[in-house]
Assembly symmetry: C2
Homo-oligomer: 457 residues x 2
């Protein structure tokens, strides 16, 4: 089946494809906030309906959390599973958005047209690139280019609590020859990437309790333990002066970057100055002795993602609070064991508690890093297909973000994943004013059409 008419069809249908994406973006499917549970269900139903309109058998599947969407289509060719997620990040701080995050629009910017709104890039826009490629293929050829299983998750932004049980219970429905995942970025505006290294993630929330109730710092300041002070001491101790993480055993399983990979990365000409300059920074702040690209792709980290305690409103309140809490996450690489790191972190925190303090832990996911088997022929075919669409040849790259689903596919379904995405570093995912370049969306759809042709030929 020929590719060219499909690409022509994609070009002609772009305005309608953008309309469909914005319809999906209008549904505020924030998975981490229970108040938006119904919106997640609405987004899942929208997607199932859209898949049915292009010939898939598709429906939402209930889970203890947000529903999964499964769809099957196509009669012959290799069996490919496509994964994306329809849930989005919270939108706070809302006052920093210059438009309603759930009233998306196409905006003209100095760098070209963008789709503005929550989920534009992470991950509704990316997910729809694949759906639109299928739609065009079906419209031109009356059939899909391969046996396709669509799998859309609704809990990716909240630690995917239902994912592993769902994979375990639906092994037969989900096992394919290869998984395609669209939740990553371009290497740069001209260079697409296939991600072959993914960092893992351990998320922990710690709550330190001192006094049994909030106290007046005049009456108790001095003799009473202050849990914010205890928490600050713990958090400050998580890195040494070289920026290395101090959790005992943390670096077990972290290998040095192979010489060949390091060289390939060097050839990419990553501009750390520009990358940091975009967000008002000038110096890589991570481990001494690592390049910025290594800090993102191949080195593990510990970050404090949130902290709260005491009075934080307007003015001043001389309270000595009963509790203080922080959300801490670790990005993992290589063979680091997420559960051992969680245990070691908790033991370290407990060991730093002074008398009269208690700590409670809440877990928010734990996944190991993943390394793809790039010698499989599909990887070279996909690289060639991508290279035909974009100005520069596609590169095998790393990813700082964590896409645990790839590891789960491998472990539970025995299936390799190919991670291809079209996001830009400045898409402001997880931040106010998220956007997705119209070019990312358009060339993303075309890229998938090319890859589908390459993999099914």
């Amino acid at each position: 089946m020929s590719l060219d008419p499909v690409l022509t069809r994609i070009d002609a249908d772009l305005p309608h494809a953008l309309d469909r994406l914005m319809a999906l973006m209008r549904i505020p499917s924030i998975s981490t906030d229970p108040a938006h549970a119904r919106d997640c269900t609405a987004a899942a139903e929208w997607l199932a309906e859209d898949l049915r309109s292009i010939g898939f058998e598709a429906r939402p599947h209930q889970t203890p959390g947000r529903p999964m969407v499964l769809g099957n289509g196509g009669e012959s060719g290799p069996h490919l599973l496509f994964y994306g997620h329809y849930d989005v990040q919270p939108v706070d701080p809302l006052e920093l958005w210059h438009r309603d995050p759930f009233d998306p629009a196409i905006e003209e910017t100095p760098r070209g047209r963008v789709i503005r709104g929550r989920g534009a890039s992470d991950d509704k826009g990316q997910l729809m690139t694949f759906v639109e490629a299928c739609r065009a293929w079906k419209a031109v050829h009356g059939t899909l280019p391969a046996r396709l299983t669509m799998f859309f998750e609704g809990e990716e932004e909240s630690g995917s609590p239902s994912l592993v049980p769902f994979l375990q219970e639906n092994t037969e429905a989900l096992r394919a020859d290869l998984a395609l995942i669209c939740d990553t970025g371009l290497f740069d505006a001209e260079t697409p990437g296939i991600v072959t290294m993914l960092r893992g993630l351990v998320g922990e929330e710690i709550t330190v309790t001192g006094p049994s109730k909030d106290l007046h710092s005049g009456m108790y300041g001095g003799p009473a333990m202050n849990p914010i002070r205890v928490l600050a001491r713990i958090l400050a101790a998580l890195h040494d002066s070289d920026g290395r993480v101090t959790v005992p055993g943390f670096y077990e399983g972290v290998a040095d970057l192979p010489e060949a990979v390091a060289r390939q990365w060097q050839d990419l000409g990553f501009d750390a100055q520009a990358f940091l300059g975009e967000v008002g920074l000038s110096e890589p702040a991570g481990e001494a002795g690592s390049t910025a690209l290594e800090m993102i792709w191949s080195r593990p980290t510990c970050e404090i993602n949130g902290i709260h305690g005491g009075y934080t409103g307007a003015g001043f309140k001389t309270v000595l609070p009963s509790q203080a809490s922080a959300k801490v996450s670790f990005r993992l690489v290589g063979e680091q064991d997420p559960l051992r790191i969680r245990d070691s972190f908790r033991a370290m925190v407990r060991g730093m508690l002074p008398p009269d303090c208690e700590v409670a832990f809440e877990e928010h996911g734990a996944s190991a890093a993943a390394q793809m088997a790039i010698d499989a022929p599909a990887f070279e075919r996909a690289r060639a297909a991508l290279s035909a669409e974009w100005p520069k040849p596609a590169a095998f790259i790393g990813s700082g973000g964590s896409i645990p689903v790839a590891g789960h596919f491998k472990r539970i379904l025995g299936m390799d994943s190919m991670l291809i995405g079209f996001a830009h570093d400045d898409d402001a995912i997880h931040s106010p004013n998220e956007k997705y370049d119209v070019e990312s969306f358009h060339k993303g759809i075309r890229s998938w059409a090319r890859i589908l042709a390459a993999l099914s030929s």
Copy 2:
């Protein structure tokens, strides 16, 4: 003019006095929150009206912030100024209150009847003890026992920004022979106290900024500076391992406790175990080598009163925030200079900033510690009067809280202050479920009647 009928009148009128206090407590006069500005005005008007009803010439006086209430009454005798504040602390966390903080009620508890609600103890209940003593005196004798100036502030819980200018502009109206201040506590349930040492207070809010916007910790975690981590490091460095404050020059002006005072305090038989046990603690957590009473009364402290940064809602968000902030306060003693300490703190914080980080400071008040001239005859007369009312003799004590107004009275008006109050340590001021014992209120009113008799005889 005889005292006994006044005491009898106070006993008989207690139910009505409680009703009046609860009427005042129903006005949510939170000064730190601009949304409650109108409630502060309403409380000031309520008080002026109440003072007029017992023969004072009284009205609210506008300031750039919340109004001050001034009232004058009485024809002869010494000129006494009475100070209290009608504004109250915020009520969060609201969910920990077992009743609406601004719908007060008398509750039966295992330790006796209490008035429950925000401001019961700090400071509406205390303020009204003096007003009710005057009311009884006026009812019985047709006149007031001395020349009295009533002075009620509405910004005590928000750093008193208008206080100093108001004192400077109203010197003549406010200068009296002696100030009486009711905003402190009993030493214990049986022992009243006259506070002769007050800690000062410096309040600072610091905001650390790293990246110019919130970032995804997957994409930027590693090379990007995390302002929460920087803030934690700064806060953790404010104390050394002995619990001493590390701000350079902090202990300049802190004298050792005089032997005689230390002995007197020892004689008080303060039960640190019980004091801390009330709030779920077991060990004094302050400076090594100090007793718990010294930690509260005669040693300076540094506390973190609030901290905030990143994502603090339900679930998890792998954000690397642009900003993190904390509210920090210092309690001062002896001759410590609040402005030098502020400068030294700011210099220390600036010196700890890594590259690409900025810090902004917001000041929330600065006042020195105060030491009363207890050899003035009024102090011994008041001590005797208090001792006649309570089971045990009154003691000269310290106070951990900061009541800067006493220092301002001395400096601006050349007037000494006598600080007498009837609060209990377990009144939960600044906390949920604040209360004031009905006994504190009742015996407080009687105490003031006795003190007024003693000072005007």
